[in-house]
C-alpha cells in the first residue's frame, strides 16, 4: 500500500526549519542592553528586554532592592505592593492603577512567567508614584538616578611640566580604565557619575588636549585625549583621579583593585606609580570578592514555590557590595545578573584578582538567622614543588578565615541574627588563597518573606561589612 505525502506539508516543514535556523541566532544579541540604577541604598544593573519594538524592564526586580515588595499574577492581571503602595496592571493594556489613581504607560504592560514588565519610556513618570522624591532617568543612556546620588566631576589641569589632569569627584569612584594610543577612557558603571556641565572640554595644553563626557548602555564614560600615553592614579580615598604622562621606563604597577560589578578580572590599566618612582600604593582600598551563589541554570535551593536561592543571593550580594564600598572596600561582585558560573571560575577569578577576602552568599528556608561557614578541607593532596594542590589552596588562609567567620557571627548576633559558625565542604572555599567564608542567610521572625526583604538583607549585609572592616588588617592572600 502506498501513500503519497502531500507536497505542501513537506514544504511547510522545511520552511519552519529554515525559519528556526535564521531567527534563533538573531534572538541572541552579543550587545546586551542594561539599565544601571543608582539609589542611596543600592546600585545595580538590570537587563532590558525588547518586545514589539519597545524596551521593557521588570518592575519587581527594579523595586526589590529599594524596599519591601511583593507581587501576584492571576488571569492577566498583575498586582504589586511596594512598601505600602499598591498598583495594578493588566497584560496588554497601557492603563494601570497606582494608589487608586489611573496612570497611562507609554506602551502595553506585559506579563512573562509571572514577571511584570513596564516600558522603559514610562519609568520617569511612573517611579515617583512608588518612590516619591526625585527620580531622574537618562533614557537614551539607560541610567536611572533615584534621589540626589549623582557624582559630578571637576577638572583641573596642572600645566607642569609634567602636565597633569586632576579629576575630583564628590564621592569615591572606581571606574574601569582603559588606554589606547592618544586616549584614556574611564568607564563608570557602578558610580553615578553625571555630566560635569559640558559634554566636552578643550585644554590649552600640548600634552592633555581634551576631555569629553558621554553616557551609553548604563554607564558614563570620560575620555581624555592626549598626545602621549597617560597613566591614571587614585588618591584622596578614591575621590581624585590624576592623569599624567607615563614614565619613559614604565614598570608594571602593583595590582590595583579591579573595577567592581564585573564577573571577570578586567583587562585594564592598573594604577601607576608616583612620579618620584617610589612604589607607593596608589589605591588605598582592599578588594573584597562578593560571590552570590548559584545563578543561571543553577537555581540553588527552592526556598518557596516561586523563590529560588539564586535570586535571593543576587539581591543580597548587591547590598553587601554597597555596604562594603561605603566602608572603603573595592568590591568585585562575581555575578551581577542571572548567569551561570562554575565553582572553578569563581575561585579562579577571586585568586586572579588577588582579593583580600572572599565572601560567598547563600540562602535557605530552613532554620533561622544565619550560618557562617569556613572550608572543611578534603584529604590533602600532595603539592608539586612550589605549586599547592587546588583542593587545599585554602590551607594557609584557613586560620584567618575562621577569625573572619567568628567576627561575622559576632556582628550578626549584635544585630539580633541567630548566627552560628561551622565548617562545610563547600566549594570553592577550599580553592581560595585568601580568607574565605560562606554566609547562609535563613529567615528571621517573619519567615520566608524576610529573605526577600531589603531591610533584612541590608541588616545582614551591614553586619558582614562591619565584621570584615574590623579585621581588615589581617586580610589578603596568605603565603
Amino acid at each position: 500500500m502506498q501513500t503519497d505525502f502531500p507536497a505542501t506539508s513537506v514544504h511547510r516543514t522545511l520552511a519552519l526549519l529554515l525559519a528556526m535556523v535564521t531567527l534563533l541566532p538573531a534572538a541572541t544579541s552579543a550587545d546586551e542592553k542594561q539599565v544601571s540604577v543608582y539609589a542611596p541604598v543600592a546600585t545595580y544593573t538590570l537587563p532590558v528586554l525588547e518586545r514589539s519594538g519597545h524596551e521593557y524592564i521588570g518592575l519587581l526586580e527594579l523595586l526589590e532592592p529599594l524596599g519591601r515588595v511583593s507581587s501576584e499574577s492571576a488571569g492577566g492581571r498583575w498586582k504589586i505592593r511596594y512598601n505600602a503602595i499598591e498598583a495594578e496592571f493588566a497584560a496588554g493594556k497601557m492603563r494601570c492603577r497606582i494608589r487608586g489613581h489611573d496612570f497611562n504607560l507609554s506602551a502595553p504592560f506585559l506579563i512573562e512567567n509571572s514577571r511584570g514588565l513596564v516600558p522603559l519610556g514610562s519609568l520617569s513618570p511612573l517611579l515617583p508614584h512608588f518612590l516619591g522624591g526625585q527620580v531622574n532617568f537618562h533614557e537614551s543612556a539607560r541610567r536611572l538616578f533615584i534621589g540626589e546620588v549623582g557624582i559630578q566631576p571637576s577638572f583641573q589641569l596642572e600645566p607642569g611640566p609634567p602636565s597633569r589632569l586632576v579629576l575630583n569627584f564628590s564621592a569615591p569612584v572606581n571606574p574601569t580604565i582603559s588606554t589606547e594610543p592618544g586616549r584614556v577612557r574611564m568607564l563608570f558603571k557602578r558610580d553615578p557619575v553625571v555630566s560635569p556641565g559640558s559634554q566636552s572640554i578643550t585644554f590649552d595644553n600640548k600634552v592633555i588636549t581634551q576631555a569629553s563626557y558621554s553616557e551609553n548602555n548604563g554607564a558614563a564614560v570620560l575620555d581624555v585625549s592626549a598626545s602621549m600615553p597617560l597613566l591614571a592614579s587614585f588618591s584622596n580615598n578614591g575621590k581624585t583621579i590624576i592623569l599624567a604622562p607615563a614614565p619613559t621606563i614604565a614598570n608594571e604597577a602593583p595590582g590595583a583593585p579591579p573595577a567592581s560589578g564585573s564577573t571577570n578580572p578586567p583587562q585594564t590599566q592598573p594604577a601607576a606609580q608616583s612620579a618620584s618612582g617610589n612604589a607607593a600604593p596608589n589605591v588605598q582600598r582592599p578588594l573584597a570578592v562578593v560571590d552570590p551563589a548559584h545563578g543561571g541554570s543553577e537555581r540553588g535551593a527552592a526556598l518557596s514555590d516561586t523563590l529560588a536561592e539564586k535570586d535571593v543571593t543576587l539581591g543580597f550580594g548587591r547590598l553587601l557590595r554597597h555596604e562594603l564600598e561605603i566602608r572603603g572596600f573595592a568590591v568585585l561582585l562575581l555575578r551581577d545578573g542571572d548567569n551561570t558560573l562554575t565553582v572553578d571560575q569563581r575561585a579562579g577569578t577571586a585568586n586572579g584578582a588577588r582579593a583580600a577576602v572572599y565572601l560567598s552568599l547563600h540562602a535557605t528556608s530552613q532554620g533561622n538567622g544565619a550560618r557562617v561557614y569556613t572550608a572543611l578541607l578534603p584529604v590533602e593532596e600532595p603539592g608539586k614543588g612550589p605549586f599547592r594542590a587546588w583542593n587545599s589552596a585554602q590551607i594557609p588562609a584557613l586560620a584567618v578565615s575562621r577569625t573572619v567567620a567568628t567576627v561575622i557571627v559576632s556582628e550578626m548576633q549584635k544585630k539580633q541574627f541567630a548566627a552560628r559558625g561551622s565548617a562545610a565542604s563547600l566549594r570553592p572555599l577550599n580553592n581560595l588563597l585568601m580568607p574565605a567564608v560562606a554566609v547562609e542567610l535563613a529567615p528571621g521572625t517573619k519567615g520566608i518573606t524576610d529573605l526577600t526583604s531589603a531591610n533584612y538583607q541590608q541588616q545582614a549585609a551591614a553586619a558582614i561589612a562591619e565584621a570584615v572592616v574590623s579585621v581588615r588588617d589581617r586580610l589578603g592572600v596568605q603565603q
Partner: protein
Amino acid sequence: MIPRHLLLSVAAMLVLVIGLGIYGRRMRRQAGELEEPAASELPVARPASGPTETVTLYVADDAAGLLRAQSAKILLPGGRQQRAEELLRALLRIYQQPGAAHPLAPASDIRSIYLVDPGAAVIDVNAAFADQHRSGILSEQLTVNSLVETLSANVPGVRRVDILVEGKTRETLAGHADLTQFFDVQAVSQAVSGP
C-alpha cells in the same frame, strides 16, 4: 472497493490486538495470584542473620544544627562490608521515620559500601538519596557528617570516606556539599565537635 490485501492486513492486526489483550489479562491474573511480600516503601533490606550489637549512631538534628551520638542495638551480619552497610541503613531508618529531626526521602538507600584498605571507605548511595535530598548547606553537611562519623566510629581504621551516587562521582549532594573529594575523618570529627 477496498483492496483485498488491505482487508486482510486489518483483520490480521485485529486478531493480534485481541490476542495480546487476552494474553495480557491472563498474565496479570497469574501475577496477582502469586504471594507478594508486604508492601513497603522502604527499600532497606534487613539482614538475614547476625547477633544484636550496640553501636553508636551520629544522628543529625536540623533545628539544633548538630549531630548527637545515639546508642542503638541493631542486628549486624558477620562480614565487615555488610556490617558497614547495615550500620548506615539503620541510621537511614531513623531519618526516614515520620517527624525525624533530619528527614531524608523514604526512597533513599545505601546501595553498597566498599572498604578499601588502608583506611578508605566508599559509600554508594542511590539516586533518590541525592535527588530527593533537601538543598541547603546545613542540611547536606549534616547528612555527610552523620554518615562519615557513624561509619568511622564503628568501623575501625576508616580514615577517609568518599560518597558516590549510583556508583558515580557527583559534584554535590543537592547543590552544596562537595562530593568530589574524599572526606578526611579527622577534619569532619573536629568540625562536628567544634564550638
